[in-house]
Assembly symmetry: C2
Amino acid sequence: MQDVKELREKAPSLSNPEEKAKLVRKWCLVSTTEAGSGHPTSCLSAADITTVLFDRYFTYDVNNPLNLLNDHFVLSKGHAAPLLYTLFGMAGAYPLEELKTLRKFGSRFEGHPVPKYKYADAATGSLGQGLSVGAGLALVAKREGYESKTYVLTGDGELAEGQIWEAANFAAHEKLDNLVAILDINRLGQSQETMFGHHIDEYARKFEAFDFEVIEIDGNNYEEINQALQAVQKPSGKPFAIIAKTFKGHGISFLENKDGWHGKALKKEELEKALKELAPINDDLRFQLKKPTQTKSPQQASNKAVTDLSFEQGKEYATREVFGDVLAKLGERNKEIYALDGDVMNSTFTQTFKKDHADRFVECYIAEQNMVSVAAGLSRMGKVPFVATFAAFLTRAADQIRMARVSEANIKFVGSHVGVSIGEDGPSQMGLEDISLFGTLPDAVVLQPCDALSTAQLISQMIAYAGFAYMRTLRPKTPLIYKNEDSFVIGGSKVLRQSGNDMLTVAATGITVFEALKAADELQKENISIRVVDCYSIHPIDATTLKKCLGETKQKILITVEDHFEHGGMGDFATAALSGQQGQVIKMAVQTISQSGTMDELLNDAGIDAEHIVAKVKAVPEVKK
Amino acid sequence: MQDVKELREKAPSLSNPEEKAKLVRKWCLVSTTEAGSGHPTSCLSAADITTVLFDRYFTYDVNNPLNLLNDHFVLSKGHAAPLLYTLFGMAGAYPLEELKTLRKFGSRFEGHPVPKYKYADAATGSLGQGLSVGAGLALVAKREGYESKTYVLTGDGELAEGQIWEAANFAAHEKLDNLVAILDINRLGQSQETMFGHHIDEYARKFEAFDFEVIEIDGNNYEEINQALQAVQKPSGKPFAIIAKTFKGHGISFLENKDGWHGKALKKEELEKALKELAPINDDLRFQLKKPTQTKSPQQASNKAVTDLSFEQGKEYATREVFGDVLAKLGERNKEIYALDGDVMNSTFTQTFKKDHADRFVECYIAEQNMVSVAAGLSRMGKVPFVATFAAFLTRAADQIRMARVSEANIKFVGSHVGVSIGEDGPSQMGLEDISLFGTLPDAVVLQPCDALSTAQLISQMIAYAGFAYMRTLRPKTPLIYKNEDSFVIGGSKVLRQSGNDMLTVAATGITVFEALKAADELQKENISIRVVDCYSIHPIDATTLKKCLGETKQKILITVEDHFEHGGMGDFATAALSGQQGQVIKMAVQTISQSGTMDELLNDAGIDAEHIVAKVKAVPEVKK
């Protein structure tokens, strides 16, 4: 642990930081009172440390928030948004008066930071995620040799979130000594004192044990703040944690260290009283941020498809393995692609990418939450991160996925081992909620190719799509059913069986495509023709084709079959696409918690194999006539 | 840190533990080879320590796994299931020969433990959850004064999961000195060496910093194991961590500490070679477990409804506040009810329960993953845990919720602050995926009452329902619209507007009920009658009533309106319920990421307010004729 008093290098002298901090405090209070809600006291505890940071150390071009050489300031305690807005306002990014629109409809100053506020590196507000985002930013800077620093301001309550310790492990393992966690230990959570109150030694011991360079300070003492921030300018091989003992509401006597003030704006008369305490305030004070000496912008990623992969007709491939091969190939041309994995690279096959592009592979170990938020940081730096693990374990990061979507991050997810078709490992390993998880998020693309060729093309499509895209890959090998001249697009589908005599349509996806084809063959023996569609694009689903099928088949019935739980699955997308059409959608999907067994046993047990499809088709009264 | 050599108390002497461990090893190998898959080497590293545990220390009645006075053994590293199955087999729970059904369809010995294997306290297999489950078990034992111990066997790879550190904080804060984490540090993860390899000091430092009593041992040395297990018998005020340096595949020369053996069963000839190394093996050896001296069974919970709560007609209540009041009342009669919260008890209103029943309130701080898995432990002990936080933050525990469902845990979830109706805080705080999250899980009940009376009754219904049940509660206050004589049941609904002249039906839930009623009033001014249904039970949804409405209205149209994203929401349940009926479902739901603003602005912006319902109704061509 560093003793700030012993810091050898003398920090630069500060000129009247308390005057600037007063102005910061004023606007945190004024904006929240104007809004009628918000968290002013959570801003006030960190006002001093951030004032010194912005006044003396923070290097940033306010005219170019995406300059890759900027420092970063991630507000992990997102409810202190008015502080963030005030800091950049005082850095000249916009007039402070605009802060009076805080929390109002249409304002860029929302209750918690979102991407329309372009100075935020990520949306925050779900606690405990900022250190991971910061680690992602710092990782790119480190690997690409930028001199920037990433500062992450966390609260103390959020240090109870496990993701903090995932991020701490990750940052130390990656030796991110350009990452500075500033812990605002203001003692009070939302409902009561935090677990450790003002015992900052508890945090110090933990961060030291997680291999951080720890500096303990009085976070409302400018000299100690200054010395700590000076100390972190020198890389030491370890990430830094400045553990700042602060007081919630500091600077205003009737707010400071008082219960019952979390998330409450001051009433007008209380505000007046507070401003009197701060008076006199010099409204002309501003931060003069240092600018990076150069500008470096995120690269426009190349979106060329892979054309030099060939697959043999009749041979079987696991789509997860094809994904790894394709990503490695694409990575040759597109230097922005990163792959992240959670100790399952030999299952997801990101190991193929790692082999060729170790400098753009990120091993996140078994810590999926951190992995997703690191990817959000990578995305902000213009990278195209592919996040891969078992589909079931992407669920571990559901909240980080949600927040990355709010952040408008450009992340590609690949979940392997989907559905009961994985076999013997049993339900804990089966991805059966993943279509629902990603499908619920607005504009998230969900894909599930069933063979090698469609997988290869759709990986390219995912990269070309700017935004969230998720691909399900299969554990077992499946036969190649497409040809090189076939093309696959987001929102597309393939009609695999078709005649002028089709009774109805079966829409399948992934492993169930093969069951549907088997069923069609079986039924054909009894002269029952059905249409079979491969809905490799689950969201958006190919409404045009499905409508056409419904219209052209005799019974106006679409049967959907998927290796996923029923609610929130592909069947619901198909149903929505056909809303208002004459006809009926019948959903076949997994209805109960599955078990161990062979793939065939489990597909049968779940009622989604060829046998059940045949039975379902024959159960349509008109089919047997 | 304890030095095992200095342990004052002499551990009891062991008699030939290596002979029993050989038999344990044999069955881990035989069963996985028989299955053709599995993780034998992950079993072997922990075979010695668990053999000593079961042989000398573990107190358990194999004829009554639910005896509350039993010790607990939670296998957090669920992929070592064959070890678990072998241990209880050697304890006489079933013939060892049955282990040859491992991973076969219908066997109770699945790839990872599930509830049909009744000796598992929870389903495991998604890593990093066992310590939290164990903390839940230990918490009940502690609070109710049982002398039992809870042992949790974790792997090393899973220690990267943040939830481990949430659990560690929680266990130390609750002073669970009846909880023993046994860390099997076998160095090798799935795809490569773990982050810290065999540097067990890294783990020791971390667990010490998290206030555990740490004991470092050679985990394949019987004397050190014995001394450590002896040491943990004496409560010390802190939870214990036995950090065992082990070797993956220990005991078989060609497996031990070798790469490439994770998750691989031995081939027949390899098995023969391994068994030769172990020979001679005494197949008659068994564990003689000590039994608890008494039997205590989980209570049958009382399910009486609250009858002594009264609400005033015309007054407004926030359903979240009503939930707190009702739970506190119910807690008087039903002593099995627990409430768990994540530092938002003043928002969810579990604070009302805490006030009356502090001994059954569990403050989990901002660590939702641990909270849910602790609740799974409580459920195993016969408790009825209510887990409450913002609906948005239940997403943080999506994987723990998934696994608790696989565990068949009896947990009640209450998510407050749902939808865009929360207003100014913005999208990070809005629960808009929660119906999808819970609705996707088989048999999970999803409820959303819109007023005080329906809330009160449905809380009782949730308790009466044995299994997963989720309730959405609202941030804003809403008027009382029901009367004391009204009754509300899972699977029910209420028709709020009805005439013989209805054009179509609007099905709403929660806050949108009031928008639908406003819309109906507006339309009535133009002599357009619509039917309005309150779908307070989202899953199961009231199919009978919805079909009746569809059949009785002129246009055979059902419009669903909900403050939730479209996919996976109430509309999809309604659509599924009406599958095969003549008519059309039109879904109105949130389509994009929302923002800050007033409730009315945001309901309007999302297109789910009265104005948009009126417009949607009028857009039906036949309505205006």
